[in-house]
Each structure stands twice: as C-alpha cells, then as structure tokens.
Symmetry: D2
Subunit: 391 residues, 4 copies
C-alpha cells in the first residue's frame, strides 16, 4: 500500500498547478467566455498556452501526440486543470472530447485515427458524442435508443433526434449511437458538416463551462459510409461502456479541482470576514463546514485514486467507477453548496467565482447516469455477488 505519487507525476501536477494559476485563471473573466463556454477564439488561445508548456492533451497516447498518462497521473493532473473551469479546455481534456479521444484510441482504425483523432489531439478540432435523446428515447436508460441506422448499399442512413449533446455547436466530428434493425446498437463517425446533420438549437443550461454548450441535433437521412463505422457493427453498447467508466472518473477529477477551488475561496473569505466579534472562521458552525469540506474533498480524492489504480491494473472497474461517480458528484456538490453558504451574499452573486462553480456543478449528479441509476446498478451487483458467496 503506497499513496505516494512518482516524482514524474508530482512534477507534472505541480507544473499544471502553476500553469493554471499563472496563465489560465487570469483569463477567467475574458469576454470571450460566454454562457455557452469559451469561444473558439478563446479556446485556441487556451490550447496554445497549454501546448507551449507541454501540457496539451496529456492523456492521449504518445503515438498520437499526448503524454500517455496513466489513470493515476490523470487523477493528479486533471484535478489541477479543473481548478479553473477553463483549465480542461486549455489542456484539451474537457468532456466530451476527453472521453472521445480515449474511445477513438481504443476502437478506431488507423485511418480513422489519422483523419479525426490526430488533429483533435493537436487541439485543432473538437468532437461531440451523440447518445442522449429526448423522451421517449434514450435517457438514463440507454436501451430506449430510438435513433436508427439502416443499411443502404455501402452506407448507413441515420435518422433521429439527439439532445443534450455537449459541444455540438462548433464540433468538427461526431460519434453517433444508433439502433440497428436487429435491435443492437452501433457507433458511427461523421464530420459535422455533412448534409443531414442539423443543429436545431443550443439548450439553455445551468452550466456554462462546456465549450460549445449543449445542443439539439437532428439527423435526416444522414449518410455514413460503412468505413466510418466505429469499431464493429452491433457493439455500440459495449463501446459505450469502454468510454464511460474512465470518462466518469475524469469528470470526478476535474470537478474535484472545481470543488477545491470553491473551498479555497470560501476558506480565505471566512478567515477574513468578521461577524459577531470575530472572523467567521472562528464560529464553530462555519468551522464545521470547513472540516466537512475537507472530509468530502479527501473522500472524493481517495475514491478517484483507488479506482484509477484499478483501471491502471487493467481491470474494468465498472462497479468502482460507478461508486466513485456517486461519491464524488455528491461530495463535491456538498462542498460547493457549503461554500455558497459560507460566502453568503457573495456566494449567490458574481462577486465570487463560487456562484458559477455552483451552477456548473449541479448537473454532475445527473451526467453520466444519475446517482440513482448507479446506486441501483451497484445494489444488483452486491446482491449478485453475495448470492454467489453464500451458496
């Protein structure tokens, strides 16, 4: 048992921390960051800065141009990047690109990688992932997928509506989950500028940290050649799992950084602001919130580390990443909610960055499967495992 990080990871973590503090946080109030995340122009500037210091797309393989980080290394670096909401965009580790890059590395052909992945790793392009559908389609229950793909000669024709598609606006390529005639699901790759893809609108969302916001997409006879199928026909759900377990965990990492940022701001505030004859921090009620914040931050971090270690060992870690997702999304949320409370009026206004972290964070309990779906999935596995043990 050893909780220490290697000197290389420590160096990378510290470098990221310094980079975020010196180069990214000062840009947080940049006018080019809107309610739908940073503009493309701002994104390019951010990416350029990360590239200059050697931190761009660090989780991609060295082959593709990244640093080939282990999951443990990601845990250390992504938390630091997440300390600013612009950090993940800068390092090119924001959702959904981070997960798409991982999936492409695992499943795409050499040709597909050269066409779509390499420029993305270089920070030149963005992507989106089209799975979620409006009712009565696939939401928390992916088996309700309604978008269809039908073979037509050497192509597939895709029809359907997707929503909550993060980064759709401005994305260069897309990965689409669609249902086959036999009920199985397949993933398809497509440039976004192909005829048959319409960005109907951008959704008005509680969060503002995702580049491109969240869009509603319509596919009308979108024609995708068979060569642009991602992986094998019918394995869409399997690949979704391949993508999801680590993608969930990187959400935990990035948002841990955000929660720590909120805590640091609140801690600094209550150490200085006076009320009833002493600094707020010397009131036990406030002190208990600080202690609980630290407990929650550390709890989230420990679950992340443990799950990352399992993934590094080659385990699938589906159970543990579900558990970490529930723990982190709820613990990090509690931290931010307490920070709002400690900051009082400042917490509910733009006087402090915490208001924004608060609204950005809430959706985390919903994304990547709401807590309820994960708890239920965990329960079934616990019962199943117990059944095997006790017989």
């Amino acid at each position: 048992m050893d909780f220490s990080l290697s000197p290389e990871i420590i160096a990378l973590r510290d470098k990221t921390r310094e980079f975020i503090a010196e180069q990214i946080i000062p840009l947080e109030n940049d006018a080019r960051a809107s309610h739908h995340g940073p503009s493309e122009e701002l994104r390019r500037e951010l990416v350029g800065r990360a590239k200059a210091v050697g931190l761009l797309t660090p989780h991609a393989s060295k082959d593709m141009g990244g640093l080939g980080l282990s999951h443990i290394a990601k845990a250390a670096v992504f938390e630091e990047a997440g300390y600013s909401w612009l950090g993940p965009t800068a390092l090119n580790i924001h959702a959904p690109d981070e997960g798409n890059i991982h999936l492409m590395e695992e499943v795409a052909t050499h040709e597909q990688k050269e066409r779509w992945l390499r420029p993305q790793v270089a920070g030149q392009t963005r992507s989106c992932f089209a799975m979620t559908e409006p009712s009565p389609g696939a939401g928390a229950d992916p088996s309700m997928l309604m978008t269809t793909a039908v073979r037509d000669g050497n192509d597939y024709l895709i029809n359907g509506v997707k929503w909550f598609i993060t980064g759709a606006d401005g994305a260069d390529y897309i990965i689409i989950m669609a249902r086959m005639e036999d009920g199985s699901a397949t993933m398809f790759l497509s440039d976004m500028d192909r005829p048959g893809i319409t960005l109907e609108r951008n959704m008005d969302a509680l969060d503002a940290c995702f580049t491109g916001g969240h869009g509603v997409l319509r596919f009308e006879n979108l024609r995708v050649p068979a060569s642009d199928v991602l992986g094998e026909i019918g394995k869409g759900f399997r690949y979704a799992q391949v993508r999801l377990a680590p993608a969930r965990l990187t959400h935990c990492m990035r948002w841990l950084g955000q929660a720590r940022r909120a805590h640091d701001i609140a801690l600094n505030y209550v150490s200085r602001r006076q009320a009833f004859g002493k600094p707020l921090a010397e009131h036990e009620g406030v002190g208990f919130m600080l202690a609980d914040n630290d407990i929650d931050l550390q709890t989230a971090r420990l679950h992340i580390w443990h799950t990352a270690w399992l993934l590094d060992k080659g385990e699938k870690g589906n159970y543990e990443s579900s558990r970490a997702k529930v723990v982190c999304s709820e613990a990090e949320w509690r931290v931010v909610d307490r920070c709002v409370q400690m900051l009082g009026g400042q917490g509910v206004t733009g006087e402090s960055p915490v208001m924004r972290i608060f609204t950005d964070m809430r959706a985390f309990r919903v994304y990547d499967g709401p807590s309820e779906v994960h708890r239920w999935s965990m329960a079934r596995k616990l019962v199943h495992a117990a059944g095997k043990t006790s017989n």
Copy 2:
C-alpha cells in the same frame, strides 16, 4: 385547534390560484423578463392584471388601498402567488416592497404614508431597503453598520455604501439604515432621484426573480430632512425587527409556492417518462423523492401557518419566525433539488422552469439571515428559557 381556513380566505386563495394559472404563467416566457427580473413595462402589465381582478397589494390595509389580509390569509394567498415567479410582482407582494409596505404602515407618519406608501400600494411605484453593506460593514451581523448619518441643521447627511439592495434599479424611494454618532441606528426615507444617491452597478446574481435585481448604492452627502426620518431617531434596529419577522415569513410563503410548482412539474414528468421498463414514478427511488417532497412541503406549510397564527394573535413571533425561516428555506430547497434530480437533463436546462426555480431559490438560505445565524439565535433563546425554568 382548527386547521380550516375561513370561506373568505378560501375564495381569495382559489381566485389567486386561478389568476396565476390563467393570466400570469402564460407571461413567464415574456421577453421583458430578464436576468434582473421583469422590466418596468412588464411589471405594470402584471400589476394591472392583478388590479383588474382585485388582488393588488392585498396585505396593505384597506385604508391604504389593500385588502387588509391577516397573516393566515397571506399564508394562503402568497403561496398561490408564488406559484409563478411573476406572481409576487403582479400582486405587489414581492420583496422588498412587501416588507417595506408593512413597515411604513407600522411606523410612517400620515404625511409620509400619503407621499410614499399610497402610490406604492396602488402599484405605481417601487421601493428598496438599504441595510446590507460590503465588508467590513453590516452583513449577517447588523451591528457592524458603517453607513453614517450626521445632523446638519434640520437635515441629516448620509454617507456610505450599501450592496445587495434588492430592487434598487428603478425604485422610486428608499429606506436607509444608518449609524448615528452615538452608535444607535436610524431609518431614513428618501426619493431615489435625490442628489447624493448613485446606483454604482447591478450585481450579477444567481436569482432572476426580483424586480430590479440587486444593486450597489453609494451615498455621498445625501441630504435627508429631519421630517423624512422613519419613526424615531435611534430606533433603527427595533424597526428592522418589526419589518423582519413578518418579511421573513412572507419569503417562506412565496417560495413555498415556487417549491410546489417545481414538485408539480417533476411529478407530472416522472409519471410520464419511461425508463427501465416503467414510468420513472414507479421506481421506488423516485417515489421516495416524491414522498419526501410532500413531507417537506407540508412541513413548511405547517410552520408558516403556526407562525402566522401567532402573529395574528399579536405576538412578536421572533423565535417562531426564525424557526420557520430555517425550516422553510431548507425544506423548500430540498424539494427543488430533488425535482432537478428527478427531471435529469431537463432539470439542468431551460427545458423546464425548474432550473430557474433552482437558481432563484438557493439564495433563500442566505437572505434574511443565513440559517446559521437563526440557529444560533434560537439556541441562545432555548438555553435562556431553560435557565429560567430550571431555577
């Protein structure tokens, strides 16, 4: 013990419910409602509609042009008005005007009432209440008041900075808390267009339901004649209490309406949306959230009713209104948070009104004294009372 409402109150409640459903909710997406609440033009339209059906400023005395509602009647009517975030503006019972009207009725001279209160009750003007100050001034601890009022002939000269002043932008008159040379506090009335008052900026706030948003005001040698002192010199903190106990409670009432609205939306959604083979509502985890919502809504309502009854009996109800404020702000918040969770993606986007209720509601745990201040004040009273009993 009797929990029934009089036929008159029931009629008024039902009329309000119908009015909100038919005339106000359809205006919720009106373009004139911005991030700083409804525009003056929209406000006038809303007020006009309430006036037309006889629901305008119902809590004001009949003398002044209102309906002279008891606190219990307010509990019934304000919850209904609060069902839409435009409702309180329509009925002219929004904060801070609702509390200011109450305070003016209690303390102002006949002349002051005719000048400021009567047009306000008629829905023609708006007011604001300037108490909170930026650090190191008065926040949760009002004794830290830094704005000063100094006698100058027959006038007072007021200097200081106030922030988080709800409705400042567009208000016609203001009530200002200022510190006297002897350390006591006094309330002053002033038109907003007097020289010496500057609206420095509007704050970017989490909530968007307050007409005029929240502003930062600077007073520089604001000259207020002695005749515009509200009540007596040196009784500012006492009047703040007069205003606060009922004002706190009306916040509870209005936001109870908002929480019930969120619950109704979520209940409707989970009854229809399918996942994992059945409507969401048939999943126990979701059902438990519905039950807990109902528990919280009813708990809030019971505390409101009980405290309103005490106030109607002529008791000050400071302890009970503190308690009700803690209970309601936390219970109603839990309801809305659960609704977001039940709605999933819809809860964190503008697809559903619940996202907005969520952001509007969070500040309630901070306004009118954060929960922590109330809990501490309650504790001291409990200990004090026990000390008296046990001797």
Copy 3:
C-alpha cells in the same frame, strides 16, 4: 385557522404533566421495571395512581369508563404521558392496548365489549395484537399472512406462528389476524389462557418500555367460537386499517414526549457542563443541535396536530397518518440521537435516562410499517392523485 387548545384540554394536559412529574418519574428506577417493561405489580401501582387522579384510559369512550378524548386532546395528553416511559402504562394508553381499545370500541359487539373491553379500560387486564409473523409470513407486507383459520362446526381452528407480539407475556386476551380459506383475513378474539396458545419465548428486544415485552406465540388448533370473531368474517385487513391510522398517530404522540424529555435533559446538561472555557451550550456546534432539536420536536407536533384534526373531522387520514408517522419517527429519532451526542459519555451509559430513550426509540422507525413502506405508499397516492388532476 386556530392553534389554540380548549381550556379543558389545557387543564387535562397540565394535570397530566404534573402527574407524570410528581408521581411517575420518581418510579422510573423502580426495581420492578425490567428489560421486558414494568412488572404486573408495578403496572397495577401505576394504573392505580392514574385512576386516583382521573387520568386512566382517557381515550376510551365515557360509556366504557374513559374520558372520550378527541384526537386533538389525545395529542396533548399522550405527549405528556410519554414524557416518562412509564407514563403510557400508567394511563393505560400504551401499545398495543391503546389501539386495541380503539378497535374494540369501533368493531366489537356489546357482549364482547363487556367481556374484554370494560375490564381493560378499568386497567384490570391487558391485551395483545397478533399480526406479524416470522418469514416467510406477514411482515411489512401484511398480504403474506400465513396463519390460517378453518371453520370447524361453530368454531374456527387457528394454526400458525406470530412473533413480535407486544405485550403477549401476561396479556389477558388477544386479537388474532388469520387467513381464511378464500384468501381473505379475519380477526379473532381469544382469552390467552385457552389451550392451543403457547408463548414460546420472549424476544430479546432493543426497547424495554413495553409492558410484557415482545413474544413469540404458537397457535396449534386454537379453537375460537364464531361468536368471538371480531367484526365480520373477511374484513380483517379493513379493520387493521381502522386500528392502524390512529394507532400510528398515538405512537407519534407518546414518543414525542420521550424525545422532548431527552431534549430537556440534554439542554439542562449542556447549560451546565463546561468544556473549552465555557458551557457546552455556548459552543455553536452544540447550539445548532439544540435548535435542530426544537425544529424537529415542533415539526413532529405540527404533523400530529394536523392529522389529529383531520381524524376528529371524521376523515380517514390514512395518507396523513402515514406521513406523520414517517416525519415523527425520523424527527424524534434525530432528536434523541443528538441528545446522546450532546451528553457524550453520559448519553451512552445509564448515567442519564437518555440511553434508554435512545434504545426504546429506534424501533419506532420500524414499527407500524417501516418508513420505506410508508414513503412508497405515499408516492403511489401522489402519482395517482396527480394523474387524476392532470387529465
């Protein structure tokens, strides 16, 4: 809306308070109170004292010898009686007798009442209620009833095992739920000394406040004449509901008294015990617990009052008594848990009566349907009601 109690109820409440303080609490350490509740000898002494002051069996009809209390009156009196764990035994309002008396009044024949009810109201006898069965029989789900009743001439032969039968040891008569051949359920009355009833053992229970503890009963060809059927054949589940809604609520009342007792003890302790330079009560963390206790106590009380008022109006109140049961069992439990924490070492030892209240109270979240069953039942009703409204 009126939260005041009538002068008669106030007088009765105050009399009960005084009776408990002066005559019952001093007996709490009586050696005749064991782990299975007060001995029969002690019970008779307690009952004698209540009789002497005119407080015996106050909820029974005047006809039967009680005071014919309304539900609201019960709310006031039972809370006071519950202040001591011996109080309900003294007033003859302890479970299950309190509920059995109510059921007998509603359903029993004149003859049955004279035989079993009148002496019970007089405090001379005790009863038990046999519904719950060991797995795979009826637990939280009463439809799983396995005890059978088969017609045999003019009699019924009852066979089965019941457990968790409160007060079985020493009871004079029993009400038995059994399954008929057609699947319906029926209630049967029987003296406890009939052949065919065996008290197999007393269970070792967390609580020690129930007279007679909790027993396991075996029925082997217990012969019950048709004249001892309680009410009509096949209506057992219906009568169980008749009994349950008010019985649930009286649990809430009595345990509210216990929770208040624990709170008073803790409040007194923290007001005196010093730590870190001041009384514990002046530590915010402790103060917050006191405030939360008061919130929980008042919340429980308000739900009890509201539901009692509904029952007094003649409504069934099934939904509301479910809700009150969840609210009270959880709120009162939180109070007691906080009291243990405030008392520290004293809270977890017999140095303070709170330890005993703590162990007595835990089962309340399980009795009369665990919280989970009530929440689920509430959810179904909410969804059902919403479905009707929205069509």
Copy 4:
C-alpha cells in the same frame, strides 16, 4: 500509488478471517459473554485460541512477543478481527489494551515493560487507562483534569475520581493521568490491587463489547513510587497524543469489521426475505441502502488505509487520524443504522446480531473525542494552514 497489500499481509488477513469465522463467531452466544463483555474465563479461552494459531497481540513488537505489524497490516488484520465482537479480545487488540501496549512500547522503561507489558502481550493480563473524569473534570476537554498527583518523598500521592474507565473491572494494571502542582499532567503506572484504588461501580453502558465494561474508580492517597512514572514528569498530554492518534485509528479498523458484519447479515437477509412480490433486495429503496452501505464501508476503509500509510511513513498524522475518526465513526454508524432498518423487526431484537452491533457502535461517535471536537480541531488547522499559504 499502489493499493495492493503485500502477500504477507494478505496471508495474515485471510488467516484472521478464517480464524474469526471458524473459531470465534461460534462462541458469540457463549453464556460467559455478559453485558460487561466476555468473562475472564472466556477471555482466556479466546486468547488461547488466537495464540494457538499465531495471531495473539500481533501489533506488539516482535521483541515483546508480537508480530510487529505495520499500521497498514493492522488495518487489514484488525478489520477482520472486528468482524466478531469477540475478535479483538481474542487477538488481544481490544481497547484500551491495544493503545496501552502501543504507549508502553513507546514510553515505558525496560523494567516497566518487563513487569507490565510482557505478560500483557502474552495475553495473561489486562490494563486500563484512566483519563476521563466526571463533571467538572476532564471530559471532551482534557485540560480540565482534576485528579492530582503530589510529590511525597520518593512517591507521588494520587487523589481523584475517574469514570468511563474501560476494562477497569479485572484489569491488572492502570495508567493514570494526573495533574501536577504546576498544572502540567503526568502519567503514572500502578498495579490495580494497590491500596488507594477503589472500583466504585461498573457503569451501565450501551455497549457490551468491552472486556470489563466501563468502571468508576476512586483514588484516595494512592501511593506511586517515582519509578512508576510513565515517561517523564509533565509530559502526560504529549503521551496522550502519542497514544491517541493510532488508538483512534484502530477503533476505526475494528468497528469497520463490525459494520461489514452487519452489512453482510442484512445483505443476506434482504436477498431472501420476500415482501410485496419480490425479495426485499429487489426493492430500489432497499437496494439504495445496500449501495450506500458499500460506499460508506469503502470510504471508511480508504481513510483508514491512507492514515495508516502516513503513520507508517513516520508522520504524526494527528490531523488525518482526527479526520478518519470522524469519517469512520459516522460512516460505520450509518451502515449499522441502515442494517437495522433493512432487518426490520429482526434488527431491533436479538434475532440478529445486528441489534448488538448497533448498541455497541453508537458510542464510537463519542469515544476518543466526539465528532464535534475533531471537526473543530480540524477547522482550526485548516484556517491556520490557509493563513500561512495566503501570506
């Protein structure tokens, strides 16, 4: 970062698991285990069994006859031992002996070790630790120490009252904290059979797992020769810290085993018990409790491991052991409370071992400093550290 255990630790852990399952759990219902823990006769049998398989006093140094376990190894072994409440007694790692052994190894002289420690490590004797005093003495605040030690020739005369002294009844030797004339504190060693030590009574406690229960001790002119001072005069508080940080953590470990046991029992029960047409475990509400249990168990384990690793590195870990204590005592308690709820009637009776685990566990939130004291201590350190960083 590496969460794997060495093969040696895994072997020891598995051996302990098997030992507990096969040799200790079958003794749990032994009549010699009373409300004050296992009798001396039973203790000797338990210890004998552990000795026979080479698991006795494994945390003691090899020099003294133990296995010299690291803190990480203790985490693995103690959790397994804790799976049965007799396990810690069997392995001789129960409180307070476990912590006393640790303290003696750190501080005692060679002579003292030979006299008191060696037979204790061999399982032949027991000890107690006398720090806590009744009001107004040292409770949560150790600085309020009232027991005095006054020099008298070559001896010290000790006077005072201690309570909540775990294991006092039947202990062979005692470590006493006493206040010196200069206000500092010193630890003294004494055989328990010396004149001047009186066990006034055993306390009636919520827990029943501690050998010897909890006693009240009176020292009247207890004469202790200077050679029996433990460590140096005036360093009592320092040594208390030396003892406390690891002692706190071993509590976390042992009770993690108890919580896991409760969870396993509940999981097994809900997998089999039917209600409403399916096994309890297939009800989402129950499933969520299972998932939350697993989350809490794993969270506790991760904090234990992390803190143990720090201690193994030679760090003091005071902050982290405080944090782990809060996390574990609360998480493990939640687990057990949920298990009671899942077990329903069985959870609140001796039908299942969980009732006993429930009562044993509650005090953990009070022992070794209640959660509130730890949270406050954490807060001060967080504020202090932030102050240093931000300057």
